[in-house]
Each structure stands twice: as structure tokens, then as C-alpha cells.
Symmetry: C2
Subunit: 195 residues, 2 copies
């Protein structure tokens, strides 16, 4: 029998191929044949690691969540204050450079498809819950540090901030805002939360 390989690595490789296709041509262009070609594998090999197209899409969605989470953890760990963590986390969600635009484009496609797919919707909700909890935690820490106004409702502010970030993505991805305009809007909003 062949040398044993790392199944998770194969699956990540497949998910990466899905991301690239979604990014370039949209969700409808994701087919087994396209993914196999993009991944440099045969269709049969793709099917070996991921049994159905639905599973493949869910895997790709989950990988996006992990990717974003890792980016946030990396930059957050470097920030000196809770308000910096908060700001930087939100900046990670905005299409301010190539990698973030890529994540946003792919993410938006999954946003739409998860509306009509229960498994994807469940994965999305989990993502929301985690990220909103993290944002609320940073808001509370910034309040405790005297950086944000003490009277703010951290949970609501987290929700408003995250909604703002997601909404700005929509407009920016079709070319309505520049990266500088996006950052300025965020800072305008954060400015009014300050102590």
C-alpha cells in the first residue's frame, strides 16, 4: 500500500484550492473538477479525502475561520493596550491589504451561501459567538484601563463594531471605499467610544 500521508494536510490543501476558486470566480465556480485541477490532484483523489461537495465547502469555510482567528491572535498578542487590541482586531477584518481582501472576498461568498445551508450557518454562528466575545472582552479591558467610556455596554458595542466591519466589507469589495476611507470610518467610530 502507499506511504501513509497526512489526511489533514491533504484536506487543508483542498480547502486552499476551494478558496482560490471562490476568490477568483465566486462560489458557483466551485466544482469537483475545478477544485481537483486547482489542487493538482485527480477527482478521485479529492473524493478520497472529502466525500461530498458539501463537506468540501464546509471544510473550506471552517478553514477561513481558523485563518482569520490565527491572524487576529498573532497581531493581538503584539498590541500594548486593550484599545490597541480592539482596534487591530477590527482592522484584521477589513479589506486593507491583499490578504485581508482575499479573506473578505471568500468570507462574503460563504456568508451568502450559509444563508441557504444549515451546516454552514451553524459554523458561522459559532464564529460570530467567539469573535464577539473576544471583542467584548477587549472593550471591557479597555474600559477598565480607562481607555473607553465606562458607561458603554460592552456586548452591544462589540456587536455594533463587528456589524460595522462586516458591512463596510460589502461596500469596499465592490469598490465603493478605499482602504484609507475604511480605516478613517473605523477610527471615527472608535473615537466616540473613548473615555
Amino acid at each position: 500500500m502507499p506511504k501513509i500521508v497526512d489526511h489533514d494536510a491533504r484536506r487543508r490543501h483542498i480547502a486552499d484550492a476551494v478558496h482560490r476558486i471562490v476568490h477568483d470566480k465566486g462560489m458557483e465556480s466551485v466544482s469537483l473538477r475545478e477544485v481537483a485541477a486547482e489542487a493538482g490532484m485527480s477527482m478521485g483523489a479529492v473524493q478520497y479525502y472529502v466525500a461530498t461537495k458539501e463537506q468540501m465547502l464546509l471544510l473550506a469555510l471552517e478553514r477561513i475561520g481558523v485563518w482569520i482567528g490565527e491572524r487576529i491572535a498573532t497581531v493581538a498578542a503584539r498590541q500594548p493596550t486593550p484599545l490597541d487590541v480592539l482596534r487591530t482586531t477590527v482592522l484584521e477584518l477589513l479589506p486593507l491589504d491583499e490578504e485581508r481582501r482575499y479573506l473578505n472576498r471568500v468570507g462574503l461568498a460563504f456568508q451568502a451561501s450559509s444563508v441557504v445551508n444549515d451546516n454552514q450557518a451553524a459554523a458561522m454562528r459559532m464564529g460570530y459567538t467567539h469573535l464577539l466575545a473576544f471583542l467584548a472582552e477587549q472593550i471591557r479591558a479597555a474600559q477598565a484601563a480607562g481607555q473607553l467610556a465606562a458607561g458603554l455596554d460592552a456586548g452591544k458595542e462589540a456587536s455594533i463594531l463587528y456589524a460595522f466591519a462586516q458591512g463596510v466589507v460589502n461596500a469596499a469589495l465592490v469598490g465603493h471605499y478605499t482602504a484609507d476611507e475604511v480605516t478613517a470610518l473605523l477610527d471615527e467610530h472608535l473615537g466616540r467610544l473613548s473615555a
Copy 2:
């Protein structure tokens, strides 16, 4: 030759069928055959009024924009103050009842597809420009009426507000927020803009 019919009415009828399919099953399920069946027409008849699938999708997107615009115009005309107009306009964008959820679901699908389709993206940008201008106008009117703080940048505030609304839609549509929660977030935000 047959009795002459209203081509625009036929096209609206086709767009309605597209909306229903997008709402129920997502953008990928839109096919000529599905649309024809949903519209109660033959494929050939659909092709007679709308030459290509791409045109059909663009038509459906434009119809959504018109629909939302009409809803907003109708409710805005009934509001007593600029701040009421502003609030009500934003409420129109949120999934607070069946029709608005329907519009949001279909709108989000088009949001995603317009990222990889230039014609759709151009239509989207036009929609952004109009709606943001309207929101900014109401903010300025509310400032002049002493309802909102005089120092606010109306353009930026319109952008932040609209981004918030769009972003909240994403989460709400996958079941993260209830309608009441959504309204409460909006009022929290509007509250802080008050004079």
C-alpha cells in the same frame, strides 16, 4: 402575430421568479430552467425577454434596488421628523419582518456575486451612492433640526450607519440575532448621535 404585451412587465415577472429561487435555494440554483418553471413560462419565452443568464441576474439585482428604494420612499414620506426618517430608513434595511428578511437574503446573495461580476458591482455602487447620499441628507436635516449633534460629519455617519445595517444583516440571517436585538443595537447607536 400575437397580442402585444408589456415587455417590462414580463421582465419584472421573470425577475420576481429569480428572487424567489435565490431566496429559497441560493444563487447557484438559479438556472434558466428553474426560472422558467418558477415563472410559469417556457425556457424559450424567458429567453425571448432576457437574452442571457447574466442579463437576467443583473435585471433581478436592479429590481431589488428599485424595491428597496420604493419601500424607503413610502415609509420615509410618512415620518414627522428627519431623525424619524433616518431611523425608519435604516429599519427598512434590517431583517425585521418577512419582506425585509426576503430582501436581505436576496440582497446578500447578490452582494456576494457582484464581487466577481463587474456589471453587478457597478449596479451595487450606484445603489450605495444613492442611499448614502439620502442618509447623509437626513442626518444633516436632523442636525439642522437640533435632533442630532451639530458636530457630526454627516457623510461619515451615513457610511458608519449603513455599514452597521449591512453587517448586522449577515449575522441576523444565519440566526445570530433576533429582530428585537437588531433594533436595540440600532437605537443604541442612534442614541449616541443625539444632540
